[in-house]
């Protein structure tokens, strides 16, 4: 800590690096048989807003024979100080160097964090390339949504875990304990036996002459051909952190998080989370009420967020919200509902929890025309939207945010104009509801569509950068004219890079290593993102990024991630892609009819909802 104390006064927000927060766990180093550093490849405020971190922190630290400490990416000022003073990357609890741990476990939440993974390895003094590591190095593993196509980072990882880690991480730790003293290769062989564990170096990737992957095959006996994701079948019995760490610093999501359910049944065709987190598993109402009480008592937060992919879909959402509001309003605890559906019911819910309406409300129609919304299977009509915004204005909201994507498959200028048209209609609804002119504000936010693995759009190319920019500027011009509306967007260059890595293969590892050497990291931050350096890295490694972002795959092609199995059948994705191209929608499987995605039979589970017997759907 001593050298650290010298540099902390010179960096912004030193509280990012000190640890010691309420509910953080400092275990005796010598008493743990296995020591894990959990790495979030972004800054503290982002990583500490992540529920998965809190869950795994709890899962490992409740074991008597293991400890798990946290490490985040240092901001640029801290990195500079650490490099100048020769301070290696360290964990927040014990301040020990990451190299001293047995396991370094990264969570891969978004593709633009890949360069930060490399930088954190480098700052730890650990070889970037898995094959160059020796028995003194930690076993470097990774999980999270990008584990469903980890190929671009695969050569930097010793093992990858697919799926929900509550049980899997424990199984991995058992292997690490059992194989202590064995060679690194023996340990990796043992790890490859754990369900859901993928050891990339045990697989060879072959390519066709046109550059497309031809096959990914095991290069040794005894490892599975396909790696299947792991799920927690019964969420009600799963460990949940009711004593989460309470940060000192204001973090991005500075509130208690209650996980209402996992999975989503809506089947939006662009959504990777909706595909890989299936099936839906709801927590029972009494479980949630208990957990809410414990969470608030153990943290002192004044806000409780009901998290899931689509919270208004929870079967018992009405009783849950009413119960929470009646119990906690007096204690000045606010209930927050992120990810609301676009309908009047959701607005009603939002009104119940928000007695004072000053915050804005966000709806995500995603596309500007009914045709395109059918293509992406976003079950929202213009009528739904206008009904929802009408209810919101009547209930007292004055600021609304509408979220869209540009460059969706089959998008034309008419669809883009449709976005502006919807914004006009929403503004008109606001005036009709007599929202004062100066107060009425509709923000249109447009990001660029990124085709993601394991979705029906995995075969689709991303729209060219030039086209994305054109459509953005069209919307900007178009919305400038309308009083009360504003437009915000994401940089399309970052989305382009995201598409390259989302659909990438192992050859991109060279680009990552080169980009890291050129100084790329924290690419998700506008002030750090250096598109020019990325272009240089591609040029110097002779790899054309357009081949990855703009390739249209054939159904018969082997995709770089085909050996990684999230449970959804490829045949189903083909079917969904075909339906998308003809504008046919697919029902929500919550409402009775099975859509045949193949997940339930593969896992011998059924969607679990908290509905009471005899209760109508």
């Amino acid at each position: 800590m001593n050298r650290l104390e010298h540099i902390l006064p010179r960096v912004e927000k030193p509280g990012r690096y000190t640890g010691g927060e309420y509910n953080s766990v400092e275990k005796k180093w010598e008493e743990a048989e296995v020591k894990v550093a959990f790495a979030f490849p972004d800054v503290y405020e982002v990583g500490m807003s992540h529920l998965g971190l809190q869950i795994l922190y709890h899962v490992v630290n409740r074991r008597s024979d293991a400890l798990l400490e946290r490490v985040f990416a240092p901001w640029t000022d801290m990195e500079e100080q650490m490099r100048t003073h020769g301070i290696p990357l360290f964990a927040l609890e014990s301040h020990r160097p990451i190299r001293d741990f047995d396991v370094l476990a990264f969570t891969l939440q978004y593709e633009l964090s890949f360069s930060t993974v490399l930088n954190m390895l480098d700052l730890s003094g650990i070889s970037l390339w898995a094959k160059e590591r020796t028995h003194n190095d930690p076993i470097v593993i990774a999980g999270g949504p990008c584990a469903y196509n980890p190929e671009p980072v695969a050569p930097f990882l010793d093992a990858v875990f697919l799926g929900e880690g509550e049980e899997g991480l424990n199984q991995i730790l058992e292997v690490i304990i059992r194989t202590r003293g064995q060679s690194r290769e023996e340990i990796l062989v043992a790890l490859a036996q754990v369900p859901g564990v993928y050891v990339p170096q045990f697989y060879d990737v072959h390519y066709r002459s046109d550059g497309v992957v031809s096959e990914v095959v095991p290069n040794r006996p005894g490892v599975p051909d396909r790696i299947v994701k792991q799920i927690i079948a019964d969420l009600n019995g799963a460990p949940f952190p009711t004593r989460p760490i309470v940060p000192y610093l204001g973090v991005v999501h500075d509130r208690a998080m209650l996980e209402v359910f996992r999975g989503c049944t809506r089947g939006c065709r662009f959504c990777q989370a909706g595909a890989v987190y299936r099936p839906v598993r709801e927590r029972n109402l009494p479980t949630l009420l208990d957990q809410a009480r414990e969470l608030l008592r153990n943290t002192g937060y004044d806000e409780l967020s009901l998290t899931s992919l689509s919270t208004s879909d929870y079967s018992r959402i009405g009783p849950l919200v009413e119960n929470l509001v009646s119990h906690y309003a007096e204690q000045k605890v606010n209930v927050a509902l992120p990810s609301l559906r676009v309908d009047a019911f959701s607005v009603e819910l939002a009104s119940t929890v928000q007695k004072v309406r000053r915050s804005s409300l966000t709806f995500a129609p995603e596309a500007g025309s009914q045709r395109l919304r059918d293509v992406i299977n976003k079950g929202v009509t213009e009528e739904n939207l206008l009904e929802a915004v009408g209810a919101a204005f009547t209930a007292g909201w004055q600021r609304l945010k509408l979220y869209f994507m540009l460059g969706l498959p089959s998008e034309t200028l008419d669809d883009v104009e449709g976005i502006a048209g919807l914004a006009d209609k929403v503004l008109a609804a606001g005036r009709e509801a007599r929202v004062p002119r100066g107060r009425l504000k509709v923000t249109v936010s447009a990001s660029s569509f990124v085709p993601k693995p394991h979705t029906p759009f995995q075969w689709e190319p991303q729209a060219p950068l030039g086209e994305l920019r054109e459509r953005q500027s069209y919307l900007m011009r178009r919305l400038k004219g309308a009083r009360g509306s504003s437009f915000s967007w994401h940089e399309p260059e970052a989305s382009f890079l995201e598409a390259v890595f989302a659909r990438g293969d192992r050859r991109l590892a060279d680009v990552l290593a080169r980009a890291h050497a050129l100084g790329c990291r924290l690419d998700g931050w506008r002030e750090c993102f250096r598109y020019d350096l990325w272009r240089q890295a591609f040029a110097e490694t002779g790899i054309n990024p357009e081949d990855y972002a703009y390739r249209r795959y054939a159904y018969t092609d082997t995709l770089p991630w085909d050996h990684l199995d999230p449970g959804i059948g490829k045949q189903y994705l083909v079917l969904e892609h075909r339906r998308a191209m003809t504008g046919e929608t697919t029902d929500d499987c919550r409402h009775g009819s099975c859509t045949g995605c193949g997940l339930c039979p593969a896992f011998e589970v059924e969607p679990y909802t908290a509905r009471e017997p005899n209760e109508p759907h």
Partner: protein, 226 residues
């Protein structure tokens, strides 16, 4: 309504916690302990906490002071015990006492604060030379520093705010005791004094560890006793 004055120590990891974050720590600790906190009125009710003066990030403090308002009676000893159980690393509740709920706000009675600073001299220097330079520094009628304001940087004379400055040193270390104006009527930060001293002595301000040891009212009483 009743008000309890609480004294606490802030060191270890808590030195790097900003004033705004300390406020949140107390709010959450109070909620966890299920204390009968009094809330402000209005759209966004907040617990009523009044601090004497923000502690600059990076400094420790032997005794910080906060007044907390309650809507029900609570004994200071109970409060101290309850908060003690809820404090994260580096924050230690020292004591509590009942004060008049209608009394003046802490920052309006604060007049000055006492700081110690100790650390290395970057080159060794004869002891009497330190004395000479310090005395010459103190004999100056004005000491200008650059201070960041909302609009940019401003030159500010801190000499009147340096109420007392004494020192002890060896060949390679120095220990300073500073009594500096603080509170609503004007404020001199210890790092500003150190920056100014760095021009006359071989020291690097960030290498000195600074601790606030006391806060005083105009009549010289400890703020705690006011």
């Amino acid at each position: 309504m009743n008000r309890i004055r609480v004294a606490y120590r802030q060191d270890g990891p808590a030195r790097f916690v900003s004033h705004l974050d300390i406020l949140r720590v107390f709010e959450r600790a109070g909620r966890r302990a299920e204390l009968p906190l009094a809330y402000t009125e209005g759209f966004n009710p907040r617990p009523r906490l009044t601090f004497a003066a923000p502690l600059p990030v990076g400094m420790s403090s032997a005794q910080e002071i906060v007044d907390i308002d309650f809507c029900q009676d609570i004994l200071p000893d109970e409060l101290v015990a309850a908060l003690t159980r809820q404090m994260p690393g580096g924050l230690t509740i020292l004591k509590g006492r009942i004060v008049a709920a209608a009394g003046p706000a802490l920052m309006s009675i604060l007049d000055r604060a006492v700081y110690t600073a100790q650390g290395p001299l970057s080159e060794s220097i004869p002891s009497n030379e330190v004395d000479t330079r310090m005395e010459s520094f103190l004999s100056r009628g004005e000491v200008f520093v650059e201070r960041k304001t909302g609009k940019g940087w401003k030159r500010k004379d801190i000499r009147p705010g340096i109420r007392r400055l004494t020192w002890k040193n060896t060949a390679d270390r120095i220990e300073l005791l500073m009594e500096l104006q603080s509170g609503s009527w004007g404020n001199v930060r210890p790092d500003e004094v150190l920056m100014a001293l760095a021009e006359v002595l071989p020291l690097q301000p960030h290498q000195l560890s600074v601790c606030r040891t006391a806060m005083l009212a105009r009549d010289g009483r400890l703020l705690w006793d006011c």
